[in-house]
């Protein structure tokens, strides 16, 4: 667009100034917490703005081990690695069938899955709590993994069904003629072709499950088993940690790092994936 070349001046200065101002408002709290995490508690209290006199890496060590952020980190990995893997695998299987095999009720199955996006999660909490108790899965990682998968299916199935529909069927037919069976076609041809879609959904579910708070809050009560967002909230809420600001700030930074890395690596897929969710209606 080249309009600004015809009319330089006022508009350009104002719009660039406002954009820079918003960038500052977005970045500043994050930059502030990162450098504050390297300060001593005295520095944070008496000079909240200044840079650390000497970086206190020890804050991170304290957050990681004494405040159990390391443990919460590990717990989260134990839950989300299988949860993401099975969410993507099971959704890919469903989506492949729905996109490729016409059968009576095909559309109905898709709508059935998609209807899960209509309800707020709060509506399910009480029955879910009792269901996991009955199944003896309450307070266990297995229970949480199952619940994460189940709640991630609607959007993942919706997204991947659209994705599988765009893959041309010629390759599929050629493989069948060459004598491959349907399972081989799925694992050896369709999955590799759908790699980009599977990756998007892996990232999407990573972000959602890493940040998940309400489900573990209701379904895990043992503080040794807390996942990361629950653990960080626990640290912040428990009064005992309110005197150790530097440790808490270090904990916030540790929780931010994985999302920041994933975001930097995959930012364009993430923007596309998340906004696709908003336009589904």
């Amino acid at each position: 667009m080249n309009i600004q070349k015809q009319r330089p001046g006022f508009w350009t200065i104002v719009s660039n100034g406002l954009l820079a101002l918003w960038a500052l408002i977005v970045m500043f709290p994050m930059v502030w917490v990162i450098y504050s995490a390297l300060k001593t508690d005295q520095e944070i209290f008496f000079s909240p703005w200044s840079l650390p006199a000497s970086p206190q890496w020890n804050n991170f060590v304290r957050a990681w081990s004494d405040a159990h952020i390391g443990k919460f980190f590990l717990n989260t990995m134990i839950v989300i690695i299988p949860a993401i893997f099975f969410t993507v695998m099971l959704s890919a299987m469903v989506s492949y069938v729905l996109a490729r095999f016409p059968f009576p009720g095909n559309k109905l199955v898709l709508y059935f899955f998609m209807s899960g996006m209509l309800f707020p999660v709060f509506l399910a909490l009480v029955p879910l709590f009792f269901l996991l108790n009955t199944l003896r899965m309450y307070g266990t990682f297995q229970g949480l993994v199952m619940v994460y998968i189940a709640f991630s299916l609607p959007f993942t199935v919706f997204f991947l069904t659209g994705f599988f529909r765009t893959i041309p069927s010629a390759l599929h037919e050629a493989a069948i003629i060459d004598g491959a069976n349907q399972y081989q076609v799925f694992y050896m041809i369709m999955l590799p072709l759908a790699k980009a879609g599977l990756l998007s959904m892996g990232i999407f579910n990573f972000l959602g499950q890493w940040n998940q708070y309400i489900l573990p809050l209701v379904l895990l009560t043992d503080s040794k088993k807390y996942v990361i967002s629950q653990g960080l909230a626990f640290l912040a809420l428990e009064q005992k940690y309110q005197n150790d600001w530097s440790g808490l700030f270090a904990a916030i930074v540790i929780v931010m790092i994985p999302t920041l890395l994933i975001y930097i690596l995959f930012q364009s897929q993430i923007q596309k994936g998340l906004t696709a969710g908003a336009l589904k209606g």
Binding site: N16, F28, F101, L131, V218, S229, I270
Partner: protein, 303 residues
Amino acid sequence: MYRHKYRLIIPFLFPALALYITFVVYPYGRSMYVAFTKWRGLTVAPKFAGLANFSRMIGDKYFWNALGNNITYLIFIPLCTIALSLFLAFMLSQGARFSQVYRVIFFFPQVMSVISIGVLWSYVYHPTIGMLTSILKFFRLEPLFQLLGFESIPVWMGDPKTALYCIGAVVIWQSAGFYMVLFLAAMQGIPDSYYEAASLDGASRWKMFWKITLPLLWDSVRVASVYSGMAAFNMFALTRVMTNAQQGPNRSTDVLATYLYEKAFQSSRFGYATAIAVSLFLITLTFSMVFLHLTPREKLEYS
């Protein structure tokens, strides 16, 4: 080529359907029954109570207080978020410099964990070490707050007059970049020639925004408003973490989700809590339907 297709279809659908029905469909369905029961403990079974929970809700001032707070959010979160993000998107689409960098920065809070954002912002609002108060003091803005009826700079999360808006501001801060990306995608569909023609006719940017951009983006704006409004009803994690799991001063930040969580998992009133959840769902649904019905669909198209 699709012989024996059910040998594939059934085993491929079964595991996902089984998990989905057990952990999603069953709890949602069951809650429609639980909402009509009296259920007070872990060991006793729910007892059918008809509409008792709902009639109780009508007389429960804490329910109305929480709903009122949701409605306050519903009014000001979508309005501010959409206005801000439209404005940012328009400036970026008009060929601002570093637009790619701005996109990346503005979107980032959307992927951050709500909990870390909440903890982070409760320190931004901290009355002694927080940056907000320090900035206002640095610019000597105390008189401004005296004009607004405060004694001095408010204590933000500790003041019932400001706490709710402090949390709402974080939601706007977090999601403006997300809606901006959404609007930018839609703005890319508007042909440059429209702006060029308007520019030749001497139209100002302000006029171009109102006469070209906004009308052509109207459908995206409607969808985004509904989406943002639903977020106002789903407030929970941020509220909880920014108020130390209390309800804010004088319950001033309590919303339906935090209230029903308290009723269920702190007071063991499972039936009543679920009835509140059902109301929350129905209110959200009604809002979306009414909003989409009342706002005109735009008939303008690029030809």
